[in-house]
Symmetry: C2
Subunit: 202 residues, 2 copies
DNA sequence: ATTGTACACTTAACAGTGTTAAGTTGCGTG
DNA sequence: CACGCAACTTAACACTGTTAAGTGTACAAT
Protein backbone atom coordinates (compact mmCIF):
# COMPACT_ATOMS: atom_id res chain seq x y z
CA UNK A 1 0.00 0.00 0.00
CA UNK A 2 2.92 2.32 -0.71
CA UNK A 3 2.61 5.66 -2.46
CA UNK A 4 1.46 5.42 -6.02
CA UNK A 5 3.90 6.40 -8.69
CA UNK A 6 2.91 9.02 -11.23
CA UNK A 7 2.53 6.33 -13.86
CA UNK A 8 0.16 4.33 -11.68
CA UNK A 9 -1.92 7.39 -11.01
CA UNK A 10 -2.08 8.21 -14.70
CA UNK A 11 -3.11 4.68 -15.50
CA UNK A 12 -5.94 4.78 -13.02
CA UNK A 13 -7.01 8.18 -14.26
CA UNK A 14 -7.33 7.02 -17.85
CA UNK A 15 -9.11 3.90 -16.71
CA UNK A 16 -11.63 6.12 -15.04
CA UNK A 17 -11.95 8.32 -18.13
CA UNK A 18 -12.74 5.26 -20.22
CA UNK A 19 -15.24 4.05 -17.65
CA UNK A 20 -16.95 7.44 -17.54
CA UNK A 21 -17.28 7.60 -21.32
CA UNK A 22 -18.52 4.05 -21.56
CA UNK A 23 -21.04 4.52 -18.78
CA UNK A 24 -22.44 7.64 -20.34
CA UNK A 25 -22.82 6.05 -23.75
CA UNK A 26 -24.18 2.75 -22.43
CA UNK A 27 -26.75 4.49 -20.28
CA UNK A 28 -27.76 6.83 -23.09
CA UNK A 29 -27.97 4.37 -25.93
CA UNK A 30 -27.78 0.89 -24.49
CA UNK A 31 -24.92 -1.57 -24.39
CA UNK A 32 -25.56 -3.12 -27.79
CA UNK A 33 -25.78 0.19 -29.61
CA UNK A 34 -22.41 1.49 -28.50
CA UNK A 35 -19.24 0.37 -30.23
CA UNK A 36 -15.73 0.36 -28.86
CA UNK A 37 -14.85 2.80 -31.60
CA UNK A 38 -17.50 5.23 -30.39
CA UNK A 39 -16.15 5.08 -26.87
CA UNK A 40 -12.63 5.59 -28.18
CA UNK A 41 -13.76 8.55 -30.25
CA UNK A 42 -15.37 10.15 -27.23
CA UNK A 43 -12.18 10.02 -25.19
CA UNK A 44 -9.99 10.81 -28.20
CA UNK A 45 -7.91 7.66 -28.09
CA UNK A 46 -7.58 4.84 -30.54
CA UNK A 47 -10.03 1.95 -30.05
CA UNK A 48 -7.30 -0.48 -29.11
CA UNK A 49 -6.19 1.62 -26.18
CA UNK A 50 -9.29 0.53 -24.33
CA UNK A 51 -8.04 -3.03 -24.51
CA UNK A 52 -4.98 -2.03 -22.50
CA UNK A 53 -7.29 -1.21 -19.60
CA UNK A 54 -10.16 -3.67 -20.01
CA UNK A 55 -10.10 -7.19 -21.32
CA UNK A 56 -13.05 -6.67 -23.62
CA UNK A 57 -16.36 -4.90 -24.01
CA UNK A 58 -18.12 -7.10 -21.47
CA UNK A 59 -15.53 -6.32 -18.82
CA UNK A 60 -16.40 -2.69 -19.26
CA UNK A 61 -20.02 -3.57 -18.68
CA UNK A 62 -19.19 -5.52 -15.57
CA UNK A 63 -17.17 -2.68 -14.08
CA UNK A 64 -20.14 -0.37 -14.58
CA UNK A 65 -22.57 -2.88 -13.11
CA UNK A 66 -20.47 -3.13 -9.98
CA UNK A 67 -20.78 0.60 -9.54
CA UNK A 68 -24.52 0.36 -9.89
CA UNK A 69 -24.71 -2.36 -7.30
CA UNK A 70 -22.61 -0.30 -4.94
CA UNK A 71 -24.86 2.74 -5.28
CA UNK A 72 -27.97 0.69 -4.72
CA UNK A 73 -26.47 -1.05 -1.72
CA UNK A 74 -25.53 2.26 -0.14
CA UNK A 75 -29.01 3.58 -0.63
CA UNK A 76 -30.61 0.54 0.91
CA UNK A 77 -28.22 0.65 3.83
CA UNK A 78 -29.24 4.21 4.62
CA UNK A 79 -32.92 3.36 4.40
CA UNK A 80 -32.54 0.46 6.75
CA UNK A 81 -30.73 2.57 9.29
CA UNK A 82 -33.22 5.41 9.15
CA UNK A 83 -36.40 3.37 9.31
CA UNK A 84 -37.90 2.60 12.68
CA UNK A 85 -40.34 -0.19 11.97
CA UNK A 86 -38.87 -3.33 10.33
CA UNK A 87 -41.85 -3.75 8.01
CA UNK A 88 -41.63 -0.11 6.99
CA UNK A 89 -37.92 -0.58 6.36
CA UNK A 90 -38.61 -3.55 4.14
CA UNK A 91 -41.23 -1.72 2.15
CA UNK A 92 -39.07 1.34 1.79
CA UNK A 93 -36.15 -0.76 0.68
CA UNK A 94 -38.19 -2.45 -2.02
CA UNK A 95 -39.58 0.87 -3.14
CA UNK A 96 -36.10 2.31 -3.38
CA UNK A 97 -35.06 -0.65 -5.49
CA UNK A 98 -37.90 -0.16 -7.96
CA UNK A 99 -37.48 3.59 -8.09
CA UNK A 100 -33.79 3.18 -8.70
CA UNK A 101 -34.59 1.05 -11.72
CA UNK A 102 -37.20 3.44 -13.05
CA UNK A 103 -34.90 6.41 -12.64
CA UNK A 104 -31.97 4.73 -14.38
CA UNK A 105 -33.65 2.36 -16.82
CA UNK A 106 -30.64 1.73 -19.03
CA UNK A 107 -28.46 1.21 -16.03
CA UNK A 108 -30.99 -1.21 -14.61
CA UNK A 109 -31.15 -3.07 -17.90
CA UNK A 110 -27.39 -3.33 -17.97
CA UNK A 111 -27.23 -4.73 -14.49
CA UNK A 112 -30.35 -6.81 -13.97
CA UNK A 113 -31.97 -7.53 -17.30
CA UNK A 114 -29.54 -7.94 -20.16
CA UNK A 115 -26.59 -8.94 -18.03
CA UNK A 116 -24.94 -11.31 -20.49
CA UNK A 117 -22.70 -13.91 -18.93
CA UNK A 118 -19.10 -13.69 -19.93
CA UNK A 119 -18.01 -16.49 -22.27
CA UNK A 120 -14.38 -16.19 -21.13
CA UNK A 121 -15.31 -16.17 -17.47
CA UNK A 122 -18.48 -18.23 -17.47
CA UNK A 123 -18.41 -18.74 -13.75
CA UNK A 124 -18.57 -15.11 -12.83
CA UNK A 125 -20.77 -15.26 -9.82
CA UNK A 126 -23.10 -12.50 -8.91
CA UNK A 127 -23.11 -13.72 -5.34
CA UNK A 128 -19.44 -12.79 -5.07
CA UNK A 129 -20.00 -9.28 -6.39
CA UNK A 130 -21.24 -6.07 -4.89
CA UNK A 131 -24.72 -7.10 -5.96
CA UNK A 132 -24.74 -9.39 -2.99
CA UNK A 133 -24.47 -6.38 -0.72
CA UNK A 134 -27.74 -4.94 -1.96
CA UNK A 135 -29.31 -8.36 -1.59
CA UNK A 136 -27.86 -8.58 1.89
CA UNK A 137 -29.61 -5.42 2.96
CA UNK A 138 -32.94 -6.68 1.71
CA UNK A 139 -32.29 -9.94 3.49
CA UNK A 140 -31.51 -8.14 6.74
CA UNK A 141 -34.77 -6.21 6.51
CA UNK A 142 -36.70 -9.42 6.02
CA UNK A 143 -34.81 -11.07 8.85
CA UNK A 144 -35.75 -8.26 11.22
CA UNK A 145 -39.43 -8.69 10.34
CA UNK A 146 -39.28 -12.40 10.97
CA UNK A 147 -37.28 -12.11 14.18
CA UNK A 148 -39.76 -9.65 15.59
CA UNK A 149 -42.50 -12.09 14.64
CA UNK A 150 -44.28 -9.77 12.24
CA UNK A 151 -44.47 -12.52 9.61
CA UNK A 152 -45.70 -16.07 9.92
CA UNK A 153 -43.16 -17.29 7.36
CA UNK A 154 -39.77 -18.35 8.68
CA UNK A 155 -37.70 -18.98 5.55
CA UNK A 156 -35.72 -15.75 5.38
CA UNK A 157 -34.11 -16.63 2.07
CA UNK A 158 -37.36 -17.48 0.35
CA UNK A 159 -39.16 -14.38 1.59
CA UNK A 160 -36.27 -12.17 0.53
CA UNK A 161 -36.25 -13.64 -2.94
CA UNK A 162 -40.00 -13.25 -3.16
CA UNK A 163 -39.73 -9.53 -2.52
CA UNK A 164 -36.80 -9.22 -4.89
CA UNK A 165 -38.70 -11.07 -7.61
CA UNK A 166 -41.75 -8.88 -7.13
CA UNK A 167 -39.69 -5.70 -7.26
CA UNK A 168 -37.71 -6.89 -10.23
CA UNK A 169 -40.86 -7.97 -12.02
CA UNK A 170 -42.50 -4.59 -11.68
CA UNK A 171 -39.35 -2.72 -12.59
CA UNK A 172 -38.44 -4.74 -15.63
CA UNK A 173 -41.95 -4.83 -17.02
CA UNK A 174 -42.34 -1.08 -16.65
CA UNK A 175 -38.97 -0.49 -18.26
CA UNK A 176 -39.08 -2.90 -21.17
CA UNK A 177 -42.76 -2.82 -22.14
CA UNK A 178 -43.04 0.90 -22.55
CA UNK A 179 -46.14 0.72 -24.70
CA UNK A 180 -48.19 -1.53 -22.51
CA UNK A 181 -51.12 0.22 -20.82
CA UNK A 182 -49.97 -0.16 -17.26
CA UNK A 183 -51.98 1.26 -14.39
CA UNK A 184 -50.43 4.01 -12.34
CA UNK A 185 -46.91 2.99 -11.42
CA UNK A 186 -47.13 3.92 -7.76
CA UNK A 187 -50.43 2.14 -7.41
CA UNK A 188 -48.90 -1.01 -8.84
CA UNK A 189 -45.82 -0.83 -6.63
CA UNK A 190 -47.75 -0.10 -3.44
CA UNK A 191 -50.44 -2.64 -4.08
CA UNK A 192 -47.91 -5.38 -4.74
CA UNK A 193 -45.77 -4.65 -1.70
CA UNK A 194 -48.76 -4.15 0.58
CA UNK A 195 -50.42 -7.31 -0.63
CA UNK A 196 -47.27 -9.34 -0.06
CA UNK A 197 -46.84 -7.87 3.40
CA UNK A 198 -50.49 -8.45 4.28
CA UNK A 199 -50.20 -12.00 3.08
CA UNK A 200 -47.24 -12.56 5.37
CA UNK A 201 -48.69 -10.99 8.49
CA UNK A 202 -49.86 -13.28 11.20
CA UNK B 1 -59.90 -15.73 -49.93
CA UNK B 2 -59.76 -17.62 -53.26
CA UNK B 3 -57.71 -20.75 -53.84
CA UNK B 4 -54.00 -20.22 -53.49
CA UNK B 5 -51.89 -20.63 -56.57
CA UNK B 6 -48.95 -22.99 -56.50
CA UNK B 7 -46.57 -20.04 -56.32
CA UNK B 8 -48.36 -18.60 -53.33
CA UNK B 9 -48.23 -21.93 -51.55
CA UNK B 10 -44.53 -22.28 -52.31
CA UNK B 11 -43.88 -18.81 -50.98
CA UNK B 12 -45.62 -19.57 -47.73
CA UNK B 13 -43.83 -22.88 -47.44
CA UNK B 14 -40.39 -21.30 -47.73
CA UNK B 15 -41.44 -18.60 -45.30
CA UNK B 16 -42.24 -21.32 -42.83
CA UNK B 17 -38.95 -23.09 -43.48
CA UNK B 18 -37.09 -19.89 -42.72
CA UNK B 19 -39.14 -19.35 -39.58
CA UNK B 20 -38.49 -22.90 -38.40
CA UNK B 21 -34.75 -22.57 -38.90
CA UNK B 22 -34.62 -19.18 -37.21
CA UNK B 23 -36.70 -20.33 -34.26
CA UNK B 24 -34.55 -23.36 -33.70
CA UNK B 25 -31.32 -21.36 -33.80
CA UNK B 26 -32.65 -18.47 -31.74
CA UNK B 27 -33.97 -20.77 -29.06
CA UNK B 28 -30.77 -22.81 -29.00
CA UNK B 29 -28.24 -20.03 -29.03
CA UNK B 30 -30.04 -16.78 -28.42
CA UNK B 31 -31.06 -14.04 -30.80
CA UNK B 32 -27.79 -12.12 -30.68
CA UNK B 33 -25.63 -15.14 -31.32
CA UNK B 34 -27.31 -16.19 -34.53
CA UNK B 35 -26.48 -14.47 -37.80
CA UNK B 36 -28.58 -14.22 -40.90
CA UNK B 37 -25.83 -16.13 -42.68
CA UNK B 38 -26.16 -19.02 -40.22
CA UNK B 39 -29.89 -19.19 -40.78
CA UNK B 40 -29.35 -19.10 -44.52
CA UNK B 41 -26.78 -21.87 -44.30
CA UNK B 42 -29.17 -24.06 -42.34
CA UNK B 43 -31.87 -23.82 -44.99
CA UNK B 44 -29.35 -23.91 -47.84
CA UNK B 45 -30.27 -20.60 -49.37
CA UNK B 46 -28.29 -17.46 -49.81
CA UNK B 47 -28.53 -14.97 -46.91
CA UNK B 48 -30.30 -12.39 -49.01
CA UNK B 49 -33.16 -14.73 -49.78
CA UNK B 50 -34.39 -14.27 -46.23
CA UNK B 51 -34.88 -10.60 -46.97
CA UNK B 52 -37.40 -11.51 -49.66
CA UNK B 53 -39.59 -12.99 -46.92
CA UNK B 54 -38.81 -10.86 -43.89
CA UNK B 55 -37.96 -7.20 -43.69
CA UNK B 56 -35.02 -7.73 -41.38
CA UNK B 57 -33.70 -9.80 -38.51
CA UNK B 58 -36.00 -8.20 -35.97
CA UNK B 59 -39.07 -9.02 -38.03
CA UNK B 60 -38.06 -12.64 -37.81
CA UNK B 61 -37.90 -12.28 -34.04
CA UNK B 62 -41.33 -10.70 -33.92
CA UNK B 63 -42.90 -13.46 -35.96
CA UNK B 64 -41.48 -16.01 -33.55
CA UNK B 65 -42.63 -14.06 -30.51
CA UNK B 66 -46.15 -14.00 -31.83
CA UNK B 67 -46.09 -17.77 -31.99
CA UNK B 68 -44.92 -17.93 -28.41
CA UNK B 69 -47.70 -15.65 -27.28
CA UNK B 70 -50.22 -17.78 -29.12
CA UNK B 71 -49.01 -20.98 -27.47
CA UNK B 72 -49.07 -19.42 -24.04
CA UNK B 73 -52.52 -17.97 -24.58
CA UNK B 74 -53.87 -21.34 -25.65
CA UNK B 75 -52.43 -23.00 -22.59
CA UNK B 76 -53.91 -20.43 -20.28
CA UNK B 77 -57.28 -20.68 -21.97
CA UNK B 78 -57.38 -24.42 -21.36
CA UNK B 79 -56.40 -23.99 -17.73
CA UNK B 80 -59.10 -21.44 -17.16
CA UNK B 81 -61.74 -23.69 -18.68
CA UNK B 82 -60.67 -26.74 -16.74
CA UNK B 83 -60.33 -25.15 -13.33
CA UNK B 84 -63.33 -25.10 -11.05
CA UNK B 85 -62.42 -22.55 -8.42
CA UNK B 86 -61.57 -19.04 -9.70
CA UNK B 87 -58.70 -18.62 -7.27
CA UNK B 88 -57.31 -22.01 -8.23
CA UNK B 89 -57.62 -21.01 -11.88
CA UNK B 90 -55.67 -17.84 -11.25
CA UNK B 91 -52.92 -19.66 -9.42
CA UNK B 92 -52.71 -22.37 -12.05
CA UNK B 93 -52.58 -19.78 -14.79
CA UNK B 94 -49.70 -17.96 -13.13
CA UNK B 95 -47.90 -21.21 -12.51
CA UNK B 96 -48.31 -22.18 -16.14
CA UNK B 97 -46.85 -18.85 -17.15
CA UNK B 98 -43.75 -19.30 -15.01
CA UNK B 99 -43.28 -22.91 -15.99
CA UNK B 100 -43.59 -21.97 -19.63
CA UNK B 101 -40.73 -19.52 -19.17
CA UNK B 102 -38.57 -21.99 -17.28
CA UNK B 103 -39.15 -24.69 -19.86
CA UNK B 104 -38.34 -22.43 -22.81
CA UNK B 105 -35.87 -19.94 -21.36
CA UNK B 106 -34.51 -18.65 -24.64
CA UNK B 107 -38.00 -18.32 -26.03
CA UNK B 108 -39.05 -16.43 -22.93
CA UNK B 109 -36.05 -14.15 -23.18
CA UNK B 110 -36.86 -13.45 -26.80
CA UNK B 111 -40.43 -12.56 -26.01
CA UNK B 112 -40.47 -10.96 -22.58
CA UNK B 113 -36.96 -9.95 -21.60
CA UNK B 114 -34.80 -8.84 -24.49
CA UNK B 115 -37.65 -7.85 -26.75
CA UNK B 116 -35.90 -4.98 -28.54
CA UNK B 117 -38.23 -2.41 -29.98
CA UNK B 118 -38.05 -2.07 -33.72
CA UNK B 119 -36.35 1.14 -34.85
CA UNK B 120 -38.23 1.12 -38.15
CA UNK B 121 -41.55 0.45 -36.47
CA UNK B 122 -41.06 2.16 -33.13
CA UNK B 123 -44.74 2.12 -32.30
CA UNK B 124 -45.16 -1.60 -32.49
CA UNK B 125 -47.60 -2.16 -29.72
CA UNK B 126 -47.64 -5.29 -27.67
CA UNK B 127 -51.23 -4.58 -26.73
CA UNK B 128 -52.24 -5.11 -30.34
CA UNK B 129 -50.45 -8.42 -30.61
CA UNK B 130 -51.26 -11.95 -29.56
CA UNK B 131 -49.53 -11.19 -26.30
CA UNK B 132 -52.66 -9.39 -25.30
CA UNK B 133 -54.57 -12.64 -25.53
CA UNK B 134 -52.45 -14.26 -22.86
CA UNK B 135 -52.84 -11.17 -20.73
CA UNK B 136 -56.57 -11.29 -21.37
CA UNK B 137 -56.83 -14.77 -19.92
CA UNK B 138 -55.00 -13.74 -16.79
CA UNK B 139 -57.26 -10.73 -16.54
CA UNK B 140 -60.36 -12.87 -16.87
CA UNK B 141 -59.15 -15.14 -14.08
CA UNK B 142 -58.64 -12.14 -11.82
CA UNK B 143 -62.01 -10.72 -12.80
CA UNK B 144 -63.72 -13.94 -11.80
CA UNK B 145 -62.08 -13.84 -8.38
CA UNK B 146 -63.17 -10.28 -7.82
CA UNK B 147 -66.71 -10.82 -9.11
CA UNK B 148 -67.19 -13.73 -6.79
CA UNK B 149 -65.92 -11.52 -3.99
CA UNK B 150 -62.93 -13.65 -3.13
CA UNK B 151 -60.68 -10.58 -3.07
CA UNK B 152 -61.11 -7.30 -1.30
CA UNK B 153 -59.35 -5.40 -4.11
CA UNK B 154 -61.55 -4.16 -6.94
CA UNK B 155 -59.09 -2.82 -9.50
CA UNK B 156 -58.99 -5.72 -11.94
CA UNK B 157 -56.28 -4.18 -14.07
CA UNK B 158 -53.96 -3.46 -11.16
CA UNK B 159 -54.39 -6.90 -9.63
CA UNK B 160 -53.76 -8.57 -12.98
CA UNK B 161 -50.59 -6.60 -13.52
CA UNK B 162 -49.47 -7.40 -10.00
CA UNK B 163 -49.70 -11.12 -10.68
CA UNK B 164 -48.06 -10.72 -14.04
CA UNK B 165 -45.22 -8.72 -12.50
CA UNK B 166 -44.71 -11.31 -9.78
CA UNK B 167 -44.68 -14.16 -12.29
CA UNK B 168 -42.42 -12.31 -14.65
CA UNK B 169 -40.08 -11.36 -11.81
CA UNK B 170 -39.63 -14.94 -10.68
CA UNK B 171 -39.26 -16.25 -14.19
CA UNK B 172 -36.77 -13.71 -15.41
CA UNK B 173 -34.63 -13.84 -12.29
CA UNK B 174 -34.46 -17.61 -12.40
CA UNK B 175 -33.61 -17.55 -16.08
CA UNK B 176 -31.06 -14.77 -16.22
CA UNK B 177 -29.27 -15.17 -12.90
CA UNK B 178 -28.37 -18.78 -13.24
CA UNK B 179 -25.59 -18.66 -10.69
CA UNK B 180 -27.50 -17.00 -7.91
CA UNK B 181 -28.26 -19.33 -4.97
CA UNK B 182 -32.02 -19.33 -5.27
CA UNK B 183 -34.14 -21.38 -2.96
CA UNK B 184 -36.15 -24.22 -4.42
CA UNK B 185 -37.97 -22.94 -7.49
CA UNK B 186 -41.34 -24.43 -6.65
CA UNK B 187 -41.13 -23.12 -3.13
CA UNK B 188 -40.48 -19.63 -4.43
CA UNK B 189 -43.30 -19.77 -6.96
CA UNK B 190 -45.84 -21.20 -4.55
CA UNK B 191 -44.90 -18.93 -1.70
CA UNK B 192 -45.18 -15.84 -3.88
CA UNK B 193 -48.52 -16.75 -5.41
CA UNK B 194 -49.98 -17.96 -2.11
CA UNK B 195 -48.81 -14.86 -0.29
CA UNK B 196 -50.33 -12.58 -2.90
CA UNK B 197 -53.60 -14.49 -2.81
CA UNK B 198 -53.67 -14.50 0.99
CA UNK B 199 -53.02 -10.78 1.00
CA UNK B 200 -55.96 -10.23 -1.31
CA UNK B 201 -58.45 -12.42 0.51
CA UNK B 202 -61.08 -10.72 2.55
C1' DA C 1 25.23 12.22 -22.22
C1' DT C 2 24.03 8.16 -24.55
C1' DT C 3 22.16 3.95 -24.83
C1' DG C 4 18.64 0.40 -23.82
C1' DT C 5 14.27 -0.83 -22.80
C1' DA C 6 9.76 -0.92 -20.91
C1' DC C 7 5.56 1.02 -21.64
C1' DA C 8 1.70 3.77 -23.86
C1' DC C 9 -0.32 4.10 -27.69
C1' DT C 10 -1.52 3.61 -32.81
C1' DT C 11 -2.00 1.45 -37.45
C1' DA C 12 -3.52 -2.15 -40.09
C1' DA C 13 -5.77 -6.05 -40.42
C1' DC C 14 -8.98 -10.21 -39.62
C1' DA C 15 -13.14 -12.37 -39.43
C1' DG C 16 -17.47 -11.49 -38.65
C1' DT C 17 -22.16 -8.66 -38.67
C1' DG C 18 -26.88 -6.76 -40.96
C1' DT C 19 -28.25 -5.12 -45.16
C1' DT C 20 -28.67 -3.44 -50.13
C1' DA C 21 -27.89 -2.93 -55.26
C1' DA C 22 -27.06 -5.21 -59.10
C1' DG C 23 -26.98 -9.23 -61.62
C1' DT C 24 -28.42 -14.13 -63.13
C1' DT C 25 -31.40 -17.80 -63.95
C1' DG C 26 -35.54 -20.11 -65.21
C1' DC C 27 -40.54 -20.57 -65.41
C1' DG C 28 -45.26 -19.24 -67.33
C1' DT C 29 -47.73 -16.62 -70.43
C1' DG C 30 -48.66 -13.98 -74.86
C1' DC D 1 -40.29 -18.74 -79.65
C1' DA D 2 -39.68 -14.54 -77.10
C1' DC D 3 -40.88 -11.68 -73.48
C1' DG D 4 -41.37 -10.43 -68.71
C1' DC D 5 -41.54 -11.32 -64.18
C1' DA D 6 -40.30 -13.55 -60.16
C1' DA D 7 -36.96 -16.13 -57.34
C1' DC D 8 -32.67 -16.30 -56.11
C1' DT D 9 -27.51 -15.24 -55.91
C1' DT D 10 -23.16 -12.54 -56.11
C1' DA D 11 -20.69 -8.75 -54.66
C1' DA D 12 -20.31 -5.12 -52.04
C1' DC D 13 -20.89 -1.48 -48.17
C1' DA D 14 -20.34 0.09 -43.77
C1' DC D 15 -20.07 -1.49 -39.68
C1' DT D 16 -18.70 -4.72 -35.39
C1' DG D 17 -15.19 -6.73 -31.56
C1' DT D 18 -10.65 -7.93 -31.31
C1' DT D 19 -5.56 -8.94 -32.19
C1' DA D 20 -0.68 -8.62 -34.07
C1' DA D 21 2.61 -5.74 -35.22
C1' DG D 22 4.71 -1.37 -35.23
C1' DT D 23 5.93 3.48 -33.43
C1' DG D 24 7.58 6.67 -30.45
C1' DT D 25 8.84 8.49 -26.03
C1' DA D 26 10.01 8.83 -21.11
C1' DC D 27 12.92 6.91 -17.81
C1' DA D 28 16.96 3.92 -15.77
C1' DA D 29 21.38 2.36 -16.18
C1' DT D 30 25.83 2.85 -17.93
Amino acid sequence: MGPKTRREREREALREVILDAARELFVEEGFENVSMRRIAEKIEYSPTTIYLYFEDKLSLLYAICEETFAKLAKRMEIIRKEADHPVAALKKGCRAYVEFGLKHPNHYKLTFINHPHHPKDPDWKMEESLGMQAYGHLRAAVEACIEQKMFHATDVEAVTQMFWAAGHGITSLLITMEHFPFVNKNLLIDMTLDTLIDGLKK
